[in-house]
Amino acid sequence: MVSSLLKIDDLRVHFEIKTGARWFKPETEIVRAVDGISFSLKAAETLGIVGESGCGKSTLARAILGLVRPTGGRIVWMGESLHDLTEDQMRGKRKELQMIFQDPLGSLDPRMTVGQIVGEPLKNFFPSMSRLQIRERVAGMLKMVGLLPEQINRYPHEFSGGQCQRIGIARALIVNPRLVVCDEPVSALDVSIQAQIINLLKDLQKKLRLSLIFIAHDLSVVRHVSDRVLIMYLGKIMELADRDTIYHHPRHPYTRALIQSVPIPDPEAERLRTRTTLGGELPSPANPPSGCVFRTRCPHAIDACAKQVPALEAVSNEDEENSGRHQVACIRQQELNN
């Protein structure tokens, strides 16, 4: 097997949140935002992570970058465990791991010019670089993401959403990272602009041989960028498989529900479509259901689902080449798919 760039092993991020206080003793509860996630990522590979709000996908992204401290498990980056690093060493690692944020305007400091924003990582990582060198690099980068270099002195609020996202991409790429984590980079953008940004990311990935982790809340966007797709629900992995397998042979009931809930922009197809929707709402991650976390909304749930936490297991009866690459966490996946 090709050695992986990033390997995540049983990662857990639990938050303690205050729910109230009795005199001086605060009452807390534990929110299991990320609860036992394992996967690995190769160089130049794109992993899509899909899940609804509160499933922990953003926390996972932040944990990978060391913006949130994991409470358990390991993150191994190029053979080195990030867990043992000090804050300072972690800061150095961020040169290789960068991030693109959901809110295009909100992720740019409103008091800084585009030049200052895009140049900031250079200033932080290469303090010896001269101002002129930084300016040159920034101008080149702006051009690469499809902005005009003469806009370098403008402020974020003078740009449209799509352009702001391009600025965010330029900032992430200027230090030549190996992995870029994109946290819903297009969900705040208009449809016509979404496609531009997705194409740009794909293009840059090919050009710079980047690895991408692409987080989204719906499946349609992820499909266009990902090699593999990981489906999350309440902090756990439901299914992980190659892109085409996920879309053509989904095995987990949740994956199927997600696929079915995406409306199709074609009236005819919409009329024919069986509109089975999931009932209920996401349970609170502070108080997840016992056993399988999805069972409260699963149309196929049985008593056993409440007792046993389903392990993420490789699907066995598939073609050779795919063996081991398709993993599902459902105790009924065999019977449901035969």
Binding site: V191, A195, I198, N199, H217, S220, P267
Partner: protein
């Protein structure tokens, strides 16, 4: 006479940078039972159209033209008269359900208030009617929910409550402004299904404002495509989706990633950025981003009826046939 007639609606805002026309000469009709989709990107004026109709424009905004509801002019109506119509004959639901509800009042009190205010019902009768309505929007255990505060409910649940509130007085028109955008995918499809069922059951006309063409395809009869404050195309959904007449509509349709089609690798995006409403280009506002643009486009195209009930604002009669094949 149509239920609602909008003619030459212009919505202008005074801003420090100058006057901005958010909506520019929009005309359309709404009939009972119709579900009209209004689609467009941010800044296309779709929300401001609804706001103008409801008399809810921001202080620096002005609406001119005409909005007639059952023959009665809404623009320029006094706040008192308007508020009688708002909530009873025309109601509106917003994108963010949680902040549209009063956080200091229980769900029940908010629903009951609408009925006692608009329908002069006694509290007891109102309570009963509110419970029925909650039941109708498929909220389990309505009596219990009535005692809860908005923050105790999830986003999807709050949107159901908003829909219930919008339908309480059996309005003639329900305006839904991006009702599912803030919700999770699986909850979105629950709400869409609910809206679909409700629109089939009642004669309430729905004006559904959204950026999601998929939602339009599933729920609407007609579509109004807006760009830079202007109507670009108006058609029944089937012809609009199968053979868009305006390049912008076509571009929008092509740029949506679709789950039901073979992945072609690269998405066809509309190049460029939405226009700055402060300095709109001369001629067709879409010209700079249009792949079919030609000399004539420097003249502002007027809205033309190319086929019965089919309007487009483009100098081209038909769009050149795309070369790529359309999948099933």
């Amino acid at each position: 006479m149509a239920l609602l007639e909008v003619r030459d609606l212009v919505v202008a805002f005074d801003t420090p940078e100058g006057e901005v026309h958010a909506v520019n000469g929009l005309s359309f009709d709404l009939e009972p039972g119709q579900t009209l989709g209004v689609v467009g990107e941010s800044g296309s004026g779709k929300t401001q159209t609804a706001m103008a109709m409801m008399g809810l424009l921001a202080e620096n905004g002005r609406a001119s033209g005409s909005v007639r509801f059952r023959g009665q002019e809404l623009l320029g109506m006094s706040t008192q008269e308007l508020s009688r119509i708002r909530g009873s004959s025309i109601s509106m639901i917003f994108q963010d359900p949680i902040s549209s509800l009063n956080p200091y009042m229980t769900i029940g009190d908010q629903l009951i208030e609408v009925l006692t205010h608009h329908r002069n019902l006694k509290r007891k009768a109102a309570r009963q009617r509110a419970e029925e309505m909650l039941h109708q929007v498929q909220i389990s255990d309505p009596a219990q929910r009535m005692r809860q505060f908005p923050h105790e409910l999830s986003g999807g649940m709050c949107q159901r409550v908003m829909i219930a509130m919008g339908l309480l007085c059996q309005p003639d028109i329900l305006i839904a402004d991006e009702p599912t955008t803030a919700l999770d995918v699986t909850v979105q499809s629950q709400i869409n299904l609910l809206m679909d069922e409700l629109s089939e059951q009642s004669s309430t006309a729905i004006m559904l404002i959204t950026h999601d063409l998929g939602v339009i395809a599933g729920l609407c009869n007609q579509v109004l495509v807006m760009y830079a404050g202007e109507l670009m195309e108006f058609a029944d959904i089937d012809p609009l989706f199968s053979s868009p007449a305006h390049p912008y509509t076509e571009g929008l349709l092509k740029s949506v990633p679709r789950l039901d089609q073979i992945d072609s690798g690269i998405l066809s995006a509309i190049p460029g950025n939405p226009p700055d409403l402060l300095s709109l280009p001369v001629g067709c506002p879409f010209r700079a981003r249009c792949s079919y643009a030609f000399d004539q486009c420097s003249a502002h195209p007027s809205l033309r009826e190319t086929e019965p009930d089919r309007w487009t604002r483009c100098h081209l009669d038909t769009l050149p046939k795309p070369t790529e094949n359309k999948a099933d």
